[in-house]
């Protein structure tokens, strides 16, 4: 192996690592706020990428329709809870959020999809179709279980994952799709060929991380999320509504996942079921970060990307075994280092 190959592999590892970092952050975020291990994350990635790929062809993807369905279910559930209060304000809010928003997005997509807009706009449309799904998925699947154990929430996640996987197969078909690059350029940096798409990935990753930092440090909602993460009961006592923080965490996570999908879509073939494995690697990074630390998660994600990249060069047949096998000793090391705290 010479230096050129090494730099290529490093670049490759960085690109994938950046995506894993985004997903890892979203997983940490959701876990910290809601204790949900967000397995369906991968489906949001796939939906984002596949929606973009279909928008590229000028067709209307099926995901806006799915969004309508999700919204309708959430509307019915909210209507059912509403019977206790009969407050007009709640009803208006319910209609606006669960019916109005998806309808508006659906209408916009119907109008915009055939126009062959620039690729960035298409990416934006794809993200705005997928991101609100986080809201409805939380409302439908998780909110009724807000007080359940981590295990129950985990199994719920598996259920949501299965349902969304099946929906993906119906909407996008069994074959993979690849989106057009958001920016088709490339430039050389010494011996290295750098594509604009990979630069875009780095930039977006950094941007999202900085954005999250400011969100958590500077905004009231962000602080509420942090408070919930530190102490759920305490946050509730001082008036932070867990429903609001939960919804916010899920919308954020879905947005991040959709953005990852949009970034990933043009550089690889995405299938309806690819998301799970990609998400799993983000999950690995999140675990290495102790399901709590954003910076360690990001660093671990880059590490996972690197290991994967170099393993695919040196022992491609054993790549998965290496990537997933390596985690175990790392976890042992972590668990030996950590003090055993009583989970009261």
């Amino acid at each position: 192996m010479d230096a050129t190959i090494a730099t290529f592999l490093i670049q490759d590892g960085l690109t994938n690592g950046a995506i894993y970092a985004l997903l890892g952050l979203a997983i940490v975020l959701v876990f910290a706020v809601t204790r949900v291990i967000f397995i369906p994350q991968g489906e949001f990635v796939a939906y984002g990428a596949l929606t973009l790929a279909i928008l590229d062809t000028g067709q209307v993807p099926a995901t806006p329709k799915l969004l309508l369905c999700f919204g309708a279910v959430a509307f019915l559930l909210d209507l059912w809870s509403w019977r206790r209060s009969f407050a007009m304000r709640d009803l208006v809010k319910n209609i606006a959020l669960n019916l109005g928003l998806p309808l508006a997005i659906y209408g916009a997509v119907l109008y915009l999809a055939p126009l062959q807009l620039p690729s960035f706009i298409r990416a934006l449309i794809a993200v705005s179709i997928i991101a609100p799904m986080g809201l409805y998925v939380y409302r439908i699947a998780y909110r009724p279980l807000a007080d359940a154990s981590v295990l129950v929430l985990l199994i719920t996640s598996v259920g949501v994952h299965l349902a969304m996987l099946g929906l993906g197969l119906i909407f996008f078909g069994p074959e993979g799709l690849r989106a057009a690059p958001l920016h088709d350029g490339s430039f050389t940096l010494g011996p290295l060929l750098v594509t604009a798409q990979s630069v875009l990935i780095y930039l977006m990753t950094i941007l999202i991380m900085v954005g999250l930092y400011f969100f958590f440090e500077k905004t009231l909602l962000g602080k509420a999320l942090r408070a919930t993460a530190v102490n759920r009961l305490g946050a509730q006592l001082v008036g932070v509504r867990t429903q609001l923080t939960g919804s916010t965490a899920f919308v954020l996570a879905a947005t991040i996942a959709a953005i990852s999908g949009v970034l990933l879509g043009p550089i690889t073939t995405i299938y309806y079921d690819t998301g799970f494995l990609i998400g799993l690697k983000g999950f690995v990074a999140a675990i290495l970060g102790g399901m709590g630390s954003f910076p360690i998660t990001a660093i671990a994600a880059i590490g996972v990307g690197m290991v994967e990249s170099f393993a695919s060069f040196f022992a491609s047949n054993y790549k998965e075994i290496i990537v997933f096998g390596l985690i175990v000793p790392v976890l042992i090391w972590l668990s030996l280092g950590a003090n055993h705290h009583e989970e009261d």
């Binding site: 078909g173 069994p174 074959e175 073939t269 299938y271 079921d273 990249s309 695919s312 491609s316 998965e320």
Partner: protein, 382 residues
């Protein structure tokens, strides 16, 4: 004591179900295919093609049951058992992934039902009395391809393929059969369909300074290394196996497929075939029916295998009907014999000539070479 009572139990259970199932006289076909999971890209065109089947053969109504096995051999075996025991099928088909097809073949041999494997199962399975293989065994396709590679002056080959049964089969062909054509495998790189990047594999494959790159992957998954080697500036020939011959692949691989040679069954290019080609008529008929129903350019390699099965059955069933009624073991015995004896069958994927020794049935007429241009496949004349 235990032995005896078990036998009695088994016997009584059997007789009861026989009474329940013997009223039917239709020809029943049970198909187990992966319509979900990693084999869905194979299973769904198959399922679509089954919809093109006639409603009867030789005046006997056709009853078709399709079950999903998601590519899982246990599920395929369970489905096959269910077909054999509960539905009393006359013909068993499936599955489309090799391990699952092996499972179904096991059941066929156990209960004595004619079985069509929709996957190139290995010889020890194809040797079984009851299983017939519809797709070309990789050697048929490989020989055609390797001859071309030899002609192109290729000696050193880098292999990039799926880390699964399919990829393994092709690397085995390259190392074993390829030797006769002067081919040497200088890199063996694997990846998974779900991988987001194959840069490492491509770099390693090209670092070995090959004359050509051989891609052993299927569907759109094969596009990743195809694009990768071109991005890294490889200008030599690229050979791609039949599994990747789909329009989705062309769409995704885009400009990168110029000068790539594909191995394929003849059905993909029925229009390009010479008029006297034995595979042209059925090929055209299939494409007309399939693309008429599912839209232009929806054809795949995989779907027409079940069309071929129908070609075979339409010839063999009338022979078997002379001996016995559908729904009986006698009919199944007769049908099996008839499949072996009623060839040759001119089908979409070649000319099947089954014999008691050969349940693959296809010869070199089952393989063609293709190139692609402007999003279309063209037959390569040599």
């Amino acid at each position: 004591m235990m032995k005896k009572s078990l036998k009695i139990w088994a016997a009584s259970a059997l007789s009861l179900t026989l009474m329940a199932g013997s009223a039917l006289a239709d020809i029943t076909i049970g198909v187990t295919i992966p319509t979900t999971g990693p084999g869905a890209a194979l299973g769904i065109p198959l399922k679509n093609s089954i919809e093109l089947w006639p409603t009867e053969i030789a005046g006997e109504k056709l009853k078709v049951i399709i079950l999903d096995d998601a590519g899982d051999p246990s599920a395929a075996t369970t489905n096959a058992r269910r077909f054999a025991n509960d539905d009393k099928v006359d013909v068993l088909m499936g599955s489309a992934l090799t391990p699952a097809a092996i499972g179904a073949a096991g059941v066929a041999a156990e209960v004595g039902v004619p079985h069509f494997a929709i996957s190139p199962v290995p010889p020890q399975v194809a040797k079984g009395k009851w299983s017939f293989v519809l797709p070309q065994y990789s050697t048929v396709l490989a020989k055609r391809m390797f001859a071309r590679m030899q002609k192109d002056g290729v000696k050193r080959v880098s292999f990039i393929g799926f880390a699964d049964s399919y990829g393994q089969q092709w690397v085995d062909e390259l190392t074993k059969t390829g030797k006769d054509f002067g081919l040497e495998v200088v890199a063996d790189e694997r990846y998974a369909r779900a991988d987001t990047s194959v840069s490492g594999q491509v770099l390693k494959a090209l670092a070995a300074k090959p004359d050509a790159v051989f891609i052993g992957a299927s569907g759109t998954g094969a596009a990743l290394p195809q694009i990768g080697v071109r991005e890294r500036g490889f200008t030599g020939p690229v050979y791609v196996v039949s599994g990747a011959v789909t329009f989705e692949f062309l769409r995704i691989a885009g400009k990168a497929v110029e000068n790539t040679i594909f191995s394929s069954g003849p059905v993909m290019v029925a229009e390009d075939q010479a008029d006297d080609s034995p595979t042209k008529a059925e090929g055209l008929a299939y494409l007309k029916a399939y693309e008429g129903k599912f839209g232009p350019n929806t054809r795949t390699q995989f779907g027409s295998h079940v069309w071929d099965a129908m070609v075979i059955l339409q010839k063999a069933v009338p022979v078997a009907l002379k001996t016995a009624k559908p729904g009986t073991q006698e009919f199944r015995d007769a049908l099996r014999d008839a499949i072996e004896s009623s060839g040759p069958y001119n089908a979409t994927h070649g000319v099947f000539q089954f014999t008691p020794e050969d349940h693959y049935g296809l010869d070199e007429r089952g393989a063609v070479l293709l190139t692609a241009k402007d999003g279309k496949f063209m037959m390569l004349k040599d």
